[in-house]
Each structure stands twice: as structure tokens, then as C-alpha cells.
């Protein structure tokens, strides 16, 4: 497509001159190609902003851990507090206004960050639960997940490494 656009630009000079019949040559086809190119660039850029977030656990987690979306909602909503083997679930998250946290809420849990915060507050201030531990960065999040038994959190693709494992969401 790039070569076609360049060829079109060669054919259609930047200064439009009237031809012998008094009409300005139409460059509609080249203009259409430029618009298509712009649209492609626009949407490719838009796609790059919507990074994918992965649910992440400490490496070595048993394969029987629940991975359904509604169960993950219960885990990150701090209502389900133990793994199937009875060990404690340690939930780590980023701040409410963090971009990755927002992506995680919308992509994985399909809720908004303020709804999650409201759910945590309801538990904390009624004495029926605790809030997750809030960390400052994805690097810190990855380190804590890798070093804490029973830990679960989330990371973007670029922050994944061998110290953590991805939990696929059904």
C-alpha cells in the first residue's frame, strides 16, 4: 500500500493546475488511499494503547486452582480467601488510579475500579473482610508475587518474566 500511495503522489502534483478543459484533475483515488492509510495508522495506534493484562500467580501453583472469571471476582473482591488446599490467598494490586489496574478491572473482572474499591470498603468497615495489599509499581508487584506463597496479582505482558506464572481466565 505504501508504494501505491507514493506512486499516486507522483501522479498528483501538490499544485493543482487546470487542464485544457478548465477542470482541475481529480485526485480522489489518491486521497482515498491516504485516508485509508491514516485510518490504519489511527487504529493500530489505538490497539497499541489497549495493553493486555494477565492474571499472575507465584510459580508452582497447583493446576487445580480456579480460573473462572466469577471466581477471580470473588478472589480479588476479597470474599474468597483460601485456595482449594486451604492455604491463604494473598492478593496484591496496584493503586486505584493506576492504568494497569484499570485495564485489569475492565478486561479480567469486567468491572470498574471504583466498584472494586467500594466492595473492599464494605468488607473492611463492616469487619467482614480485609483489603488487598496495594503496591506502587508493576516491578514491586512482580517481586511480591514471586516471593509470597499463595500470591495472586496481575501484570502487563512487558512485565512478565520467569519468576511468575500466568493464570489463564476461562
Amino acid at each position: 500500500m505504501g508504494k501505491s500511495i507514493l506512486k499516486g503522489l507522483e501522479v498528483c502534483p501538490p499544485v493543482m493546475k487546470q487542464n485544457k478543459s478548465g477542470q482541475i484533475p481529480c485526485c480522489g483515488g489518491n486521497f482515498f488511499a491516504i485516508c485509508i492509510c491514516c485510518l490504519v495508522l489511527f487504529f493500530s495506534n489505538y490497539t497499541a494503547q489497549a495493553e493486555e493484562v494477565f492474571v499472575t500467580v507465584k510459580r508452582g501453583m497447583p493446576t487445580t486452582v480456579p480460573t473462572s472469571r466469577y471466581v477471580l471476582s470473588a478472589i480479588f473482591g476479597m470474599r474468597l480467601t483460601t485456595w482449594p488446599d486451604g492455604s491463604a490467598i494473598r492478593v496484591f494490586v496496584l493503586p486505584d488510579d493506576n492504568h494497569t489496574h484499570s485495564l485489569f478491572c475492565k478486561q479480567i473482572l469486567q468491572i470498574f475500579p471504583h466498584q472494586l474499591r467500594t466492595a473492599w470498603d464494605r468488607l473492611v468497615y463492616s469487619g467482614t473482610g480485609q483489603a488487598p495489599e496495594v503496591l506502587g509499581s508493576e516491578l514491586e508487584l512482580r517481586t511480591r508475587i514471586a516471593n509470597t506463597p499463595g500470591a495472586i496479582g496481575y501484570l502487563t505482558k512487558e512485565n512478565l518474566d520467569e519468576s511468575v506464572a500466568i493464570l489463564p481466565v476461562k
Binding site: P66, S68, R69, Y70, V71, S73, A74, R79, L80, T81, T82, P84, G86, S87, A88, I89, R90, L109, Q110, I111, F112, Q115, L116, T118, A119, D121, R122, V124, Y125, S126, G127, T128, G129, Q130, A131, E133, V134
Partner: protein, 339 residues
């Protein structure tokens, strides 16, 4: 519940405009046309002493300016600041399924509370997960009452949509009585792709050792004391796993005894009953929350003799579209016919 010394006017644009009806004739003339709330609330982040110990806190200060009725102390024509809430709570998980939690609250609300710290809740919570889908548990101690959408955390400013919750459901005069009680609560939760179903049942004794509860139920403070008889509260709550829709059905059977002062009293021994049923619904979007609750209340007095003895139904309809957008809250509170 309409034993209110005040009414509140919410001036809304159509189609949400509401009209105030009040049970006290004099208050009809004394409309509050200007009510200014200036809340200042703070919330602390969780502070972890150890891996399983968390400490949280909250603080809020409100200002009231009214035209015809005092609100939590003098507030007519001059601003009143007698509404302050300070709280600190801690929780500890000695075992993954065993939690101990406690909250101390200091509250100033006019003549009712002077800010002395009180135990808001203090409980032990043990739960057992049969699978990730089913859970049973028990809580013992001073437990928050499972009632409606907001009773669990009504003291915490940033957990409620307004400075004061709708008074027809969450009347401040009976706050101590309804917010927490001493006893045992059993609960069960079922989690499925179609949503979460949660049932909580409480049995115990309400907090009646305060003058505001006595005034709210008997409309006057007397020389004796109120003591709670065994009371029961329950709530069935349904919520979609994404939190968009929440439905709840709550009910209570509460009973109190008035114990006259042995030296001298104008009121004989008697029993007071308050049995409400509450239907709640809430819908959440990204920036808006819509809530509505309907309460059907049964009051009864017996043993006092005329004119105090009665058995009546008080239907309180509170339909309030609740719009939460940052710090702005718009709600409508309609009170039904009083006693």
C-alpha cells in the same frame, strides 16, 4: 419511621422533584429551603503491622445550615458543626479462615453523642469454603447488622452516597440500635456465573443503652432504662459478579423492654416491638449509581396502657434514584404516613 424532629428537603429538577410530607404540623411551616452540607472526609490507606494485620481509619466533618429545624445541634441561620465521625479499625487473620476484627468509633452528633469512643464492632469470623462456589461461616461478638444496602458501613462517609443516608430507612435516631448488636450471625454464600447469593441471619441483643434509642421509640426520655429482648435480623442479598446489579431483601424482629426506675417513674413496665421489612435494589454504571429501597415497618407497644399502647403498620416508602457523580449526590426521599 417518622418520629423525626426535623424534615429534609431535597430540591431537585424535574422529573425528580419531590414534595415533603411531615408528621408534625408545625414543621410543615418550617420548611428547610436551604440545606448546605460541606463534608470533609478522609480515609487512611491500610497499614499492615504484620502480614495478616491491617489497620484502617476514617474521619469526616460536616456542616449544616438550615432555615427552620436544627440539625445535630443549633444550625438555624448559623452554621452548625456538631457532626463529626472518627473511626479506627483493625483486623487480624491468625488463620486463613479465621479473622478477628474490631472498630472504635468517636461520634459527635449534637446532643445524642459527645464523641466518647465506643466499640462499634468487635467480632470473630470463622468461614469454611466447601468449594470455591460455596461457603459457610459464623460471626460472634458485636456484629454489624445485615440490613439494606448501606447499614453495614453507614458511619463511614465515603461508603455512603450522601452526608446523611435517607432518614426514612436509616434514621439517625436509632443508629446505635440498628448498626450493630451483640450476638451470633451465621452466613452462607453461593457463587455462580450468574451471580452471588448471600444469606445472613443474626440473633442476639440490640444496643438499647442510649437515650436516642429511647427517645426514638417512646418519643421522650424517661427515668427508667430500655433493655433488649432476643432479636433477629436477616438479609438475602443477590449481586452479579461484576457488581452491576444488587438486590436485597432484609427483615428484622426486634423486641425491647422498658424497665421503670424503682424509685419513681411516670411510665410503667412495657414492651416495644419494631419489625421492618426492606426491599433494596441498586444498579451501578461506570459513573452513576441508582438505588432504591422500600421499607414496610411494624411498630407495637404493649403493657404501658393508653395512650402508649398501640399496634400499627407504618409503611415507609423510600424511592430514591441515587446519582453519584464525584462529590455530587442527588437523591429523593419520600416519607410515608406517620404514626
Amino acid at each position: 419511621m417518622n418520629q423525626l424532629p426535623f424534615s429534609q428537603l431535597n430540591n431537585l429538577s424535574a422529573p425528580l422533584r419531590c414534595h415533603i410530607r411531615h408528621s408534625q404540623p408545625m414543621a410543615i411551616k418550617a420548611l428547610i429551603y436551604y440545606l448546605l452540607f460541606l463534608p470533609f472526609g478522609m480515609q487512611s490507606k491500610a497499614f499492615e503491622l504484620f502480614d495478616s494485620v491491617q489497620v484502617h481509619g476514617f474521619a469526616s466533618q460536616a456542616m449544616f445550615l438550615t432555615s427552620g429545624n436544627n440539625m445535630f445541634g443549633p444550625s438555624i441561620s448559623n452554621p452548625g458543626f456538631d457532626f463529626t465521625e472518627l473511626g479506627i479499625n483493625g483486623s487480624w487473620l491468625p488463620l486463613p479462615n479465621l479473622r478477628l476484627s474490631m472498630q472504635i468509633l468517636s461520634r459527635r452528633d449534637g446532643a445524642w453523642s459527645n464523641g466518647s469512643p465506643v466499640l462499634d464492632f468487635g467480632l470473630m469470623d470463622y468461614s469454611y469454603n466447601f468449594t470455591s462456589d460455596y461457603c459457610l461461616g459464623i460471626r460472634a461478638g458485636r456484629v454489624r447488622q445485615p440490613y439494606g444496602l448501606y447499614n453495614d458501613t453507614r458511619d463511614v462517609a465515603f461508603t455512603r452516597p450522601s452526608i446523611l443516608l435517607p432518614q426514612s430507612i436509616y434514621y439517625e435516631g436509632t443508629r446505635d440500635f440498628t448498626i450493630s448488636a451483640d450476638g451470633l450471625l451465621v452466613y452462607g454464600e453461593m457463587r455462580k456465573p450468574w451471580g452471588n447469593l448471600n444469606l445472613e441471619l443474626f440473633g442476639g441483643y440490640g444496643r438499647t443503652d442510649n437515650k436516642e434509642t429511647e427517645y426514638s421509640f417512646i418519643q421522650k426520655t424517661y427515668y427508667g432504662t430500655l433493655a433488649s429482648d432476643p432479636s433477629f435480623v436477616g438479609r438475602l442479598n443477590y449481586e452479579t459478579y461484576d457488581g452491576a446489579l444488587r438486590l436485597a431483601l432484609s427483615g428484622a424482629y426486634t423486641s425491647m423492654r422498658y424497665k421503670p426506675n424503682p424509685s419513681w417513674d411516670t411510665l410503667p413496665r412495657g414492651n416495644i416491638g419494631f419489625d421492618p421489612i426492606l426491599i433494596s435494589a441498586q444498579y451501578n454504571t461506570e459513573k452513576w449509581t441508582f438505588s432504591s429501597e422500600y421499607s414496610y415497618n411494624f411498630f407495637s407497644n404493649s403493657g404501658f396502657g393508653p395512650p402508649f399502647d398501640f399496634s400499627a403498620k407504618d409503611t415507609v416508602e423510600n424511592n430514591f434514584p441515587e446519582l453519584s457523580l464525584w462529590a455530587e449526590v442527588i437523591m429523593m426521599d419520600n416519607e410515608g404516613i406517620g404514626l
